[in-house]
Amino acid sequence: MIQLCSNDDPPVSFTVPRKAVELSKTIKTMLEDLEGFDMEQTPIPLPNVDAPTLELIVKWVEQHQDDPPPVEKPRVEDDDSDDSDADDDQEPEVVIPEWDKKFLPTDDEQKNQLFKLLNAANYLEIKPLLDIGCKYVADKISGQTVEWVRDYLNMENDYTPEEEAKLKEEIAWAEGL
């Protein structure tokens, strides 16, 4: 078992099976580098992750610890694509499994928790979690208005009115207007 500590004061620690924790490439590499030390006794501090987020992460890795490792396909440089199948070398579509759908904090009040989870998944290099989280957010944004997207992602419009007007004119066609 491995102990993980959140960045809170005082830190909250979680005990996780090593197999589950190794879904995080960051921690896996760290453990490999510290081969020989008794890691069971040494808590690993995670300076970028708070307790609620770490709790979610732990829940997710425990659920997925027995998943088969993702197949990493080498990018084929010289593909043999036909006229008809143009989207040959696009990445395969990510499908969010049922369990994960319920797991993701998807209520609008929880969106900041969702963003923290994504940042943590990125920091800890848990690619499958990052994939489904990003897929969820992308699906949510797709087709929405610019204002809605800004609001949802806490983004501020930092264009000058002139710049915005110019860009708007250029982009208008992509809206099919």
Binding site: S81, D83, A86, D87, D88, D89, Q90, E91, V94, N112, F115, K116, L118, N119, A121, N122, L130, D131, G133, C134, K135, V137, A138, D139, I141, S142, G143, V146, V149, R150, L153, N154, M155, E156, N157, D158, Y159, E164, L167, K168, E170, I171, A172, W173, A174, E175, G176, L177
Partner: protein, 473 residues
């Protein structure tokens, strides 16, 4: 702290459809800079919505006739394409400009061709199906040094700055020069009125179906494109001499359906090109002697007929090697005897079309039992009965299409049996589409159709149905 960091944001943006990425650049400066396009290596017109306000009718002339096509005003089309290619161009390897769901035909002006050549230096594949091109636009293709696949099927060429079609002779000479200068591997000039006797040492795949190619052009092509492995000449009725094809020692695929191929041509092709894997000689009305086909030891796809000279004997000679995967021999003299032999030798068959009156249950059932990978089966106009459907109920799990129009002996009883016995293991079977009915088919009720639908079989009856449920049972 609660905001999404850039790495994650890029990961999200990458998962957006292209047109969302384009229009959401306006969210903030960071997104403008961050917006990832490196994964967009292929673009087709349909990938983004196009505004309809700049579309107008373009009229052009040829031989005192006027043609009219909807196009987007060049100024706007170039402007939009500029915006787009500015972003996705550097990574683009496939560009497809073809009107599909679009309400306009792409007009490729010299200016647009310049843009493409400037902004898409890594383009490998350029598809201009049904486009309208200014003839000098084609010169720009020569600037794309990685271009290996060009598709100009059914394209129309205009004189520069004038709304006249370019004469075929002028165009032939021009495209001959352009296309021969590129290191092309694939070229599609299907349904083009002009003829290009292309000379290319790199060309592997050439499609010229429905073009005006003649014997002399074919000879030039076969002489100068020694690496051709696929040649499509379907419906090229101006060719009378096919002997030049025998020079192509690497040829694997030859489609000459609807051509004036003679027995002598077929004989020499089969003799000189025994490596052929795919051959279509259907609708070649001059053919009467199919015996040379037995030379094709590697043949996987063969389409013949209609011909009463293609019977069990020759089918058996071809099937003996067991290589066939896709066989089309409709309206031929094939009977059960030939089909049974076929089924015993060619167990890898995926698609079979045997719409021959001599075929009955015996042959088809044998085929279903032996060829477990069979996906498509066309047995229209045969004398198969409900027995075939009974056999299908317990075998043929890979089948996804069955054509039984005008099979007089088939009726609801067979389909009901199919429903009852297949129901229990339908989950293990591929979704199946059955086309029935036809001129001579028996009527089938709506009730049965919905029953079959519930176990993944869509039954399409090509004739008015019985209106009342349950009738006919």
């Amino acid at each position: 702290m609660d905001d999404i960091i850039d790495d994650c944001m890029r990961c999200i943006l990458e998962r957006l459809p292209l047109h969302d990425r384009l229009r959401l650049e306006i969210v903030c400066r960071k997104w403008f800079e961050l917006m990832p396009y490196a994964d967009v290596t292929a673009f087709a017109l349909d990938d983004v919505p196009w505004p309809e306000r700049h579309i107008h009718e373009l009229s052009y002339h040829h031989n005192n006739l006027t043609y009219s096509q909807p196009v987007m005003q060049p100024k706007w089309f170039c402007r939009y394409m500029n915006f787009l290619l500015d972003r996705i161009g550097p990574h683009l390897r496939t560009l497809i400009l073809a009107p599909r769901r679009n309400v306009f035909r792409p007009l490729v002006t010299l200016e647009l061709a310049h843009l493409i050549a400037d902004l898409c230096p890594n383009l490998k594949s350029a598809v201009f199906t049904s486009c309208i091109l200014e003839s000098s636009a084609t010169d720009q293709l020569m600037r794309l040094r990685y271009l290996s696949n060009v598709n100009l099927s059914a394209a129309v060429f205009l004189e520069d700055d004038r709304l006249n079609l370019v004469g075929n002779d002028v165009l032939s000479a021009k495209l001959d020069a352009v296309l021969s200068a590129l290191r092309l591997e694939r070229l599609n000039l299907a349904h083009c009125p002009f003829v290009v006797a292309i000379k290319s040492g790199t060309l592997r795949r050439l499609q010229l179906q429905g073009s005006g190619l003649n014997s002399q052009d074919l000879t030039i092509i076969c002489e100068h494109c020694p690496r051709l492995d696929s040649l499509v000449l379907s419906e090229c009725r101006n060719i009378v001499d096919y002997n030049a094809i025998t020079r192509l020692s690497m040829l694997k695929v030859l489609w000459v359906n609807g051509c004036k191929l003679t027995n002598e041509h077929l004989s020499s092709i089969c003799h000189e090109c025994p490596q052929l894997v795919s051959l279509r000689i259907n609708e070649c009305t001059l053919l009467t002697d199919f015996r040379p086909l037995k030379n094709l030891r590697a043949i996987e796809t063969l389409w013949v007929g209609p011909s009463n000279r293609f019977g069990d004997g020759i089918l058996a000679r071809i099937a003996r090697n067991g290589t066939l995967i896709n066989l089309g021999a409709s309206n031929c003299a094939v009977t059960d005897q030939g089909v049974c032999y076929l089924a015993s030798r060619c167990r890898k068959l995926l698609e079979v079309s045997l719409s021959c009156t001599g075929v009955t249950d015996q042959g088809v059932i044998m085929l279903l039992k032996n060829c477990r990978d069979l996906q498509v089966l066309n047995i229209q106009f045969t004398s198969v009965s409900n027995e075939t459907l009974k056999a299908m109920a317990t075998t043929a799990c890979s089948l996804r299409a069955l054509y039984v129009q005008s099979c007089r002996e088939l009726d609801e009883e067979g389909f009901l049996y199919l429903y009852e016995s297949r129901g229990s293991f339908a989950d293990d079977c591929t979704a199946l589409e059955i086309q029935a009915g036809g001129e001579r088919g028996t009527p089938i009720s709506h009730w049965l159709i919905s029953k079959l639908q519930s176990i993944g079989i869509s039954l399409i009856v090509q004739r008015p149905l019985l209106a009342l449920p349950g009738l006919g049972l």
